[in-house]
Amino acid sequence: MAEATPLTQGIPADGKPLGLREYEAMGGYEALRTAVGQMTPEDVIEVVKDSNLRGRGGAGFPTGMKWGFVPKRDGKPGRRYVVANGDEMEPGTFKDRLLMEGNPHQLIEGMTLAAYAIEADFAYVFIRWAYRDAFHRLRDAAHEAEKAGYIGKRILGTDFHLEFHIHGSAGRYMCGEETGLLNSLQGGRANPRSKPPFPPVAGLYGKPTVIQNIETLCNVPQIISNGAEWFRNLGLAGDAGTKLYGVSGKVNRPGIFELPMGTPIREIIEEHAGGMRDGLRLRGFLPGGASTPFLLDEHLDLPMDFNHIAEAGSRLGTGTMIILDDRTCPVGMLANMEHFYAQESCGWCTPCRDGLPWVEKTLHAMETGAGKDEDLEILELHCKLLGPGYTFCALAPGAVDPLASALRFFREDFEAHISERRCPWRNPS
């Protein structure tokens, strides 16, 4: 059943979810049957390690390695958790939604395999409040799966138990940060945690926890079914598997496309997303969501994967790009984004909590004609001092990364806002 689009195969075009029967008919839950019947937990981890599956939430951490960090049970009691991060709130990102709404059983099977691998007894899907359809479909699917013996007590007649919960969260951007999510799931504030220890050692309620992006987990059943080598060979440029790429902005066919990892950016934008709308030119793009630095048209021929995008100075992130065209004000775009980040700061660390509102207000002042000469300096200072290491978590660095690149690539726009005391795009002279 190895397909070119293993993640999205079978997802009905009519927007309805794939039911249990349909999923089973496609070979669904066979991977689970194989794993619990023929493999040890270590075997599962080894296959996932071999597959080179890297986390699809943005950081690209090798999934099998993460699972390997969970201490071996060695017969010791104590809860362990698998948590699926469905708080998809990165602006421009809507890939996990497709997977949760379209094929909920694939996620449940992936999580159950992860639980088997780390010998977890509890699984949580943490879903952002706005994804109501995904929440209901997953809940229904979990009922079906439990009835069919794929989750719950004595899975497939073995001693493997997994209590499965679908958690609808109030949702904040911080809940997408894995430790913020765990705090929120525990009933606390969605503040990030200091690391080490990392969640595989001390996660939910301080217990060993594997927390993964939805897309990452959805890859696992196919890896178990088809093998690590098959998965590795799906990629085009070194990174393994397929990837859900997204394109938003003023292109002809914005959307989500499952393509081999490493598909050239130009192909994604021009072939799959239909290219720029008539009369518009691509001026730059955020390759992996709103927290990744801009790339320019000179980068269009890069393979879209973790390493190549990193080498170009940005990040693959969630693989869902936002296109800036030549008729949209980059300052306005940044002002909008920084408003989002300032609002989504959890309020824990000073630079993020009090620095981002300053950035937001400065950009807003520029947009409304109240920019001052020293504002560029203030923005640049924030780009540096809200960087990695200065702040507690990655929210603020992710907020200023695109700003720093915009100040570099589109500086003349910022300067024009200040010198003309207006937004030249909104208020043309």
Binding site: R172, M174, R189, R193, S194, P197, V201, A202, Y205, G206, K207, A342, Q343, E344, S345, C346, G347, W348, C349, T350, P351, R353, D354, G355, L356, P357, W358, K361, A365, K372, E374, I378, L381, L385, G389, Y390, T391, F392
Partner: protein, 907 residues
């Protein structure tokens, strides 16, 4: 103590050998470097939120770039190279202040915190002095948090210390952090008085002026204008160290004074806010003599008063009644004046028996009486009969820390440093170490306990003996325990036996002798196999142990002698008519002895009955020595010279003694001399002499009570007298009522304020400690009078009391305590009085049903023939057959001491 492992680190090119156990921030502060910080606190650990303590770390000697790290979150490792002065680190730290200042109001001149504001200090330290933020500041609505704390949220810099102290450290629930981003709000769900007995610490925990002392605000003065001296809290028996501050004759506030073994960083709200009795309009400021044939008294001069008293004493036998709230010096002076054979202590007969048992068992076990610091380190705790939160509040706080010790092992197994607060709490999660609470009524520690039982006092003693029997022989000895108690025996015995540092807490609050004996017996059994087993006993008053060690007979003997007409005169020191065990006997003495002299602070029922009233100085107006519940003798010093003829009690007594006995019998220039006299007279007080020698200061190097910045010295009284008055002479202590004196840091026992260049807030404390969180430089002050007696454990026995059986028509009275209400002097603070409950009687609802009464109904309570009417408070936790009666509340004071009461419904 294990010797700390030392690591070599480089700080801006200088090498240091430092312990590896601390984080880098504490390490550089301990080394004397200035590094600003906010969210870190020595008692709360590190969370890395504020980002203020950023420094540059270098990989090796060749690394020129380095990386910014947060010192508070960085463990010390061998070869660590950091720079505090690195320009990027300096610029970043200034930026952090810049960000905080985007919303912090520029209201320092009118802010209560000004002049002792950590944020001010850190702002100056980072060099941030130019505002570049040009947008509006965010504003908040403040809350009314009750009578003790003022709330000004606009000043908040979101360091999260308040919520971490209030919830995580002190277990409070009605205070939290709300909202997010730069609208994060620290307060309550809605306006209302903070419920934690430790809420006042927010005023010192907050690095700026969000939470400030409302009692201080009512008579506000700047820190630098306060006259301060090292003092002791007199409002319970723990002996917490305090720094009272006075200006122009008014006591303005109480602040914490660090003692590494006792209160460390925190005080309870009674101790912090219960000081207003010193300023009370009912203060006695002049001697008053009742004129023959006239109903009232008239003010007389000190000389007339002394004349009169001397005349009385010359005319007949005099009985002296000492006080457990007065200093050793005052008690010794009275004992000297009336003669040891005529000296009695002002506590009731059954209380005295309890106190004697406490003194006999205090040293039980090789470990000796544990300090609060040691209690924090216990890994299994059993509380027998004592409501710590309301009889010795800081003990509650210490026990709250102790229950974390066992689960902290999980964090240690993950190599989480002890100071990494958030991660430790994450790994601990909801797990708590063994704590067993056996009390007659619910306590606030129940929520943390692994086992709780409610029982009558003598059944609680049974529990203690039953556990002791298992610990001793391995077999349960007592068969007929009620289920509620029996369920606790096994688990408690097992936890204590498996513990490294087991701790038993009991005390006089239960009023039950057998409970104290049971506790002592249990500790002895534990100590057979574990020399770390410790017994903590709670006593009611600040000098209970001190007067107990005087060995004098109690009020029951005094009242009997007075009733027999043996005495013509009585001199009564600070009589406490608020407690049931005392008031009856004291009343007998006041009413039957023909000539009564009372030394007291406030007008009240005792002074009303006295022939001669002498105005006695409070703790803030006199110096002396008190002995806390662990037998630690501690000195306190006069803070200010009071108005009028208020004098230290010992001084009045000495002046009378000079006339009656001759000057050679009372050869005392200062309280030190009285204490020396006591040390010579009664051997157990011998170590007090050492205590003073460690505090002796060169006369010319006195420690100033006023700051070097005190304002208005030459002008504040100019409207009365243009000449600058000569400062009062303190002939008796190493302190001076002046801003002048030694610029050197004083010995630990003489610290009058925490100040160090650049450090104007209480955070300057770290400059006075040997190691942050450890002992004060030169050693924590005070001296133990009771040493451990591993083999000689008196008064332990297995003669178990009879089991409690409810009586028909009669109820056993058990004392219920209230942080605000059960201590008489603190009730003079309006906020304390406001929070004290109205008198009530508590009953198990089943008993209420039996009597046909429900909530709000009135009961007639009859104790030894005295009746009073009290509203019923149903308390499902109380055992049947017991009635809870609050201690010390106005309206419940002048009651007989009987332990049984008849109850009936008000017809």
């Amino acid at each position: 103590m294990e010797k700390p492992v030392l690591k070599k680190i480089w700080v801006d090119g200088r090498t240091h050998e430092v312990p590896e156990s601390n984080n880098l921030l504490q390490t550089v502060l301990d080394l004397g470097y200035d590094l600003p910080y906010f969210c870190w606190h020595p008692a709360l650990g590190s969370v890395g939120a504020c980002r203020q303590c950023a420094v540059k770390q270098f990989r090796d000697a060749d690394d020129r770039d380095g990386m910014i790290i947060m010192a508070c979150m960085t463990p010390v490792s061998d070869g660590l190279r950091i720079s505090i002065d690195d320009p990027e680190a300096v610029a970043f730290r200034a930026s952090v202040i810049g960000w905080l200042m985007t919303n912090h109001p520029h209201d320092c001149p009118i802010c209560d915190e000004g002049g002792e504001c950590h944020l001010q200090d850190m702002t100056v330290m980072t060099g941030h002095n130019q505002r570049t933020y040009r947008f509006n500041k965010r504003t908040f609505r403040n809350q009314n948090l009750g009578p003790f704390l003022n709330h000004e949220m606009n000043r908040c810099i979101q360091c999260y210390r308040c919520v971490r102290f209030y919830r995580d450290y002190a277990g409070g629930k009605d205070f939290n952090v709300f909202g997010s981003r730069n609208r994060t709000y620290f307060g309550r769900v809605k306006d209302g008085t903070l419920e934690s007995p430790f809420s006042g610490n927010l005023a010192e925990i907050c690095p700026t002026g969000v939470f400030t002392d409302k009692t201080e605000k009512a008579h506000y003065t700047r820190k630098w204008d306060l006259q301060t001296a090292p003092s002791l809290c007199t409002l319970c028996g723990l002996g917490c160290n305090t720094l009272p501050g006075e200006r122009l004759g008014t006591l303005r506030r109480i602040r914490n004074r660090y003692h590494g073994e006792i209160n460390r960083y925190f005080l309870c709200d009674r101790g912090r806010f219960g000081y207003e009795f010193v300023n009370s309009p009912r203060r006695i400021r002049h001697p008053a003599l009742r004129q023959p044939g006239s109903p009232g008294s008239a003010i007389v001069s000190a000389e007339q008063a002394i004349d009169h008293a001397a005349g009385l004493l010359a005319g007949g036998a005099t009985i002296g009644i000492g006080s457990p709230t007065a200093s050793l010096e005052a008690n010794h002076a009275l004992r000297t004046l009336v003669g040891a054979e005529n000296f009695f202590v002002g506590i009731g007969g059954s209380e005295a028996e309890l106190l004697r048992t406490v003194l006999a068992t205090l040293g039980a076990g090789p470990a000796g009486p544990p300090s609060l610091r040691e209690i924090e380190r216990a890994d299994a705790v059993l509380i027998l009969g004592e409501d710590l939160t309301n009889t010795a509040p800081l003990l509650d706080l210490a026990v709250r820390q102790s229950v974390l010790n066992v689960p902290l092992d999980h964090a240690r197994a993950l190599d989480v440093p002890h100071w990494n607060d958030a991660v430790n709490r994450l790994v601990i999660n909801n797990e708590r170490g063994p704590l067993f609470v056996a009390t007659p009524a619910p306590t606030s520690l129940d929520e943390l306990a692994s086992g709780v039982c409610r029982a009558a006092p003598q059944d609680i003693a049974h529990l203690g003996f039953a556990i002791a029997a298992i610990v001793g022989s391995g077999a349960p000895a007592l068969g007929d325990l009620p289920d509620a108690i029996a369920r606790l025996v096994g688990p408690a015995a097992e936890a204590l036996r498996n513990s490294k540092t087991p701790l038993i807490i009991a005390g006089m609050g239960s009023g039950d002798l057998a409970t104290i004996r049971a506790a002592a017996t249990l500790v002895r059994e534990l100590a057979n196999t574990n020399p770390a087993a410790a017994l903590c006993l709670v006593v009611p008053d600040c000098n209970s142990v001190g007067v107990g060690l005087l060995g004098a007979p109690d009020l029951s003997h005094a009242a009997a002698a007075a009733a027999r007409g043996e005495f013509t005169n009585a001199i009564v020191l600070e009589p406490d008519l608020s407690r049931r065990g005392r008031s009856e006997a004291l009343s007998t003495i006041l009413d039957t002895v023909p000539h009564v002299v009372v030394l007291d602070h406030l007008e009240g029922p005792a002074t009303d009955r006295a022939e001669l009233v002498l105005p006695a100085a409070t703790f803030a107006e006199s110096g002396g020595t008190m002995v806390n519940n662990e037998g630690r003798a501690q000195r306190f010093f006069q803070v200010f010279v009071p108005e009028g003829e208020v004098r230290a009690s010992w001084r009045w007594l000495q002046q009378i003694g000079e006339r009656v006995l001759g000057p050679d019998s009372v050869p005392w220039d200062g309280s030190d001399d009285v204490a020396k006299g006591l040390a010579e007279a009664i051997p157990v007080f011998g170590p007090i002499a050492d205590l003073m020698s460690t505090l002796t200061h060169e006369p010319r190097r006195r420690v100033p009570r006023q700051s070097h910045r005190v304002t208005g010295r030459t002008s504040v009284n100019a409207h009365l007298q243009i000449r600058e008055p000569r400062p009062p002479d303190d002939g008796e202590s190493p302190l001076a009522f002046s801003m002048e004196g030694s610029p050197l840091p004083p010995p630990a026992g003489l610290i009058t304020r925490y100040w160090s260049p650049g450090w104007n807030s209480v955070q300057a404390l770290s400059r006075f400690q040997e190691e942050i969180g450890g002992a004060l430089r030169g050693g924590d002050p005070g001296v133990r009078l009771i040493e451990p007696r591993p083999s000689d454990v008196a008064s332990t026995s297995h003669d178990e009391p009879t089991r409690f059986t409810p009586r028909s028509g009669e109820w056993l009275l058990v004392s219920l305590y209230h942080l605000f209400g059960s201590e008489r002097l603190s009730l003079e603070t309006p906020g304390v009085a406001e929070q004290a409950p109205a008198p009530y009687v508590a009953l198990n609802p089943d008993d209420g049903d039996r009597l046909g009464v429900g909530p709000g109904d009135t009961l007639v309570v009859e104790i030894e023939g005295r009746t009073l009417e009290l509203p019923l408070e149903p308390e499902p936790g109380l055992p049947r057959g017991c009635a809870g009666l609050p201690e010390g509340l106005p309206g419940l004071r002048d009651l007989p001491a009987g332990r049984w009461a008849r109850l009936r419904r008000l017809p």
